[in-house]
Symmetry: C2
Subunit: 410 residues, 2 copies
């Protein structure tokens, strides 16, 4: 039977090694700003115009020369002649001189010569004149040309996972298309003689392939990934070998479940050993200790546990940070809640433990209740909890009433 | 020119009124557990089997009767005969009697009569016998039948937005398909004579339609929504009226940008007034005060500002919570950072303000720096910041060094 050789690598080292060894080569494509959310930007985007492209009124009112209003008061109102009006979309063709005003609505360009806008509420309109009762400072109620950004400013940097804000600012500068990396193509295959696909009948000794469903849907949450599921592969070594070689040619990355454990009945591990080289083989974490990474033809193959909770820990602690790191993008922040631990929670020194917890709020305090059943197959421990705590390698555990960071599932 | 009549409704009242008035009628469909992520579950899912479906070995070792090992010690080892072996997927056909053991690998079913597993590391194997040096308690190293869940248990409730965990536990009970609500169909149209689509040339007085791009991509982040973008509509009242009537028939919800402000040049507001009735018309918040909601033929029409930041505030503070509330699902938790405000930040009493802030970490403390340019068109205020703070209606602002909750963009 297989045993792990020597010391297991720790989680941080495993992530670092993975990021160091993996280099994805992704072609680029042009995608419309209407549909590019979640893609990784493959270029720096610089402003092609000033924004706003002209001095723009921020309110409904009258565009004036500010100095014309200096000294205005309720007792000494100043009168200005209405020379015309501008609405949004009009060209700023009109020009005003001293003593003149132009009616503008919100979003309209300022007429030439104007440098401020008096709100409509603050004037009296008498025939073709306005009466101004208080001075306006220069640039009052005006969005000035270039105040958002200037032509040539960097708007969004390369390697940004495009969010709505980013696409809006890119669009504001007139770009319809952006150059992005094509999505990472990930093949998923499962192994295990005891594993049966959902929807099929179950015989004694068999279990349903919840792990495969978990892996595919977990990866689908990363919008820059496209997953391909290949089903449950058999235990025939030569067939499995051919299949993996074929898939490696088709995808950027493979993820397998099962067959990476310590059991003597698994062949997947042997096949990967023949075809490639391991980056790490087992990691000092619980659950998910068997999680391994190999390179075959320079392409990464992650081997996850066949047990769903252990596979999930492998995804969360290793696969996700390594994929993000290799792509040069940041793992998004997770919501964290500080909570009081309701029970002593032990750890095996040398391992990093991921403990699922339920959160309860009592009198403005949050309590984290560790889920009792820790088995790496216990899916209810994921569904019935709100998040997880991490116990580091150098601690024997957390005492009851410790304040812990709970990472919420998002 | 249009003025808001009387008191503006506050954000909480607006959300409550919206949720009360809106009732979406969504048909259901069957979707595979492999692809159902992000759909809203339309049924309660109960376990169809026990999980695990049999007593299962959690380790590689030997299945025994625990009581046979009681009294075992290094000086008095107990010897058991190896009767056979079971691997994952085997039917638990073998039966053991006192004095017998069955070799099992991780995931294998326990043979009949066995109630615990001794780890392979803890025995000596001598020919066809194992020598046991210490007792094992009953159910040691066994995942017991039904320990995850029992047949008939509620696994995932109706109205859950399906996450990977949920789909995994549903799959573990053998279901390939789940009944979900079809996605909410949302039509988006923009208005404004000054607005030009990205990719088109820009004349004086015109701006690009960044608001439309923001709205579409923001909604696309909710996986249970399908968006349809209809472009920039003109100012011809009769044409706009026909168009809106047509779209209301095709979609569950319409969202418009522009034309809901206080400007006299807008016609969208008038068209909506003729066709339907307002639920609220303007909200006491900044930015985004013009945000309105109407019902036309019992279908909601949200009117957002034409300015991108004001539109975003309308989406975040009103559209999102109202959609979630009307669908009976919870708005997911946002990551929050507690930070020290670097500057006094004023508020207009009676309004709820949404202030974009950048976050900096200095010596383990977080600081929130309010973005200076507050204009509702300043997109860089969204792109260059990390999140926002909310100043409630009854405060004149936050003093410098106040501890504030920063809601991170996710």
């Amino acid at each position: 039977m297989y045993k792990f050789l020597g010391e297991l690598i720790n989680v941080d080292q495993a992530v670092r090694k993975g990021v160091d060894k993996i280099e994805f080569k992704l072609e680029t494509l042009e995608v419309s700003v209407w549909d590019a959310r979640g893609y990784i930007l493959a270029e720096d985007i610089y402003a092609s115009i000033n924004q706003p492209p002209f001095h723009r009124s921020a309110v409904d009112g009258f565009a004036v020369k500010a100095e014309d209003t200096f000294g205005a008061s309720p007792l000494n109102p100043i009168t200005l002649r209405i020379k015309g009006s501008l609405k949004p979309g009009d060209k700023p063709g009109i020009k005003i001189d001293h003593g003149e005003a132009v009616e503008v609505s919100t979003g309209a360009p300022l007429p030439q010569g104007a440098d401020s806008v008096i709100m409509v509420e603050d004037v009296d309109i008498v025939n073709n004149y306005i009466r101004v009762h208080k001075p306006v400072p220069k640039w009052a109620n005006v969005s000035r040309l270039g105040e958002d950004y200037s032509r040539g400013d960097l708007l969004v940097s390369k390697n940004t996972v495009l969010k709505p804000h980013d696409l809006a600012i890119i669009a504001s500068s007139g770009y319809k298309y952006v150059k992005v990396y094509r999505r990472l193509s990930v093949g998923i295959l499962c192994s295990g003689d005891e594993v049966v696909e959902p929807g099929q009948p179950l015989s004694g000794g068999e279990v349903y392939n919840s792990t495969g469903v978990l892996i595919k849907n977990y990866l689908d949450e990363m919008p820059f990934i496209k997953t391909y599921y290949y089903g449950i592969v058999g235990d025939q070594k030569s067939l499995l070998r051919d299949f993996i070689e074929k898939l490696i040619g088709k995808h950027d990355l493979l993820i397998t479940s099962g067959g990476a454990g310590v059991s003597g009945v698994d062949v997947l591990r042997d096949v990967v050993e023949e075809l490639g080289e391991y980056v790490f083989r087992g990691v000092a974490m619980r659950p998910g200790r068997p999680t391994s990474l190999a390179l075959i033809n320079n392409k990464p193959v992650f081997m996850l546990s066949g047990y769903p909770v252990a596979a999930w820990t492998g995804l969360e602690a290793l696969v996700k940070p390594i994929i993000y790191g290799s792509l040069g993008i940041e793992v998004p922040a997770k919501p964290i809640v500080k909570a009081l631990l309701t029970r002593r929670t032990p750890n095996v020194i040398g391992y990093r433990s991921y403990i699922r917890v339920g959160i309860k709020r009592v009198d403005d305090k949050y309590y984290a209740e560790p889920y009792m059943l820790r088995g790496s197959g216990v899916l209810s421990s994921l569904v019935k909890t709100n998040g997880y705590i991490i116990i580091p390698e150098d601690l024997e555990g957390y005492e009851k009433d410790s304040i812990v960071d709970v990472y919420l599932y998002s």
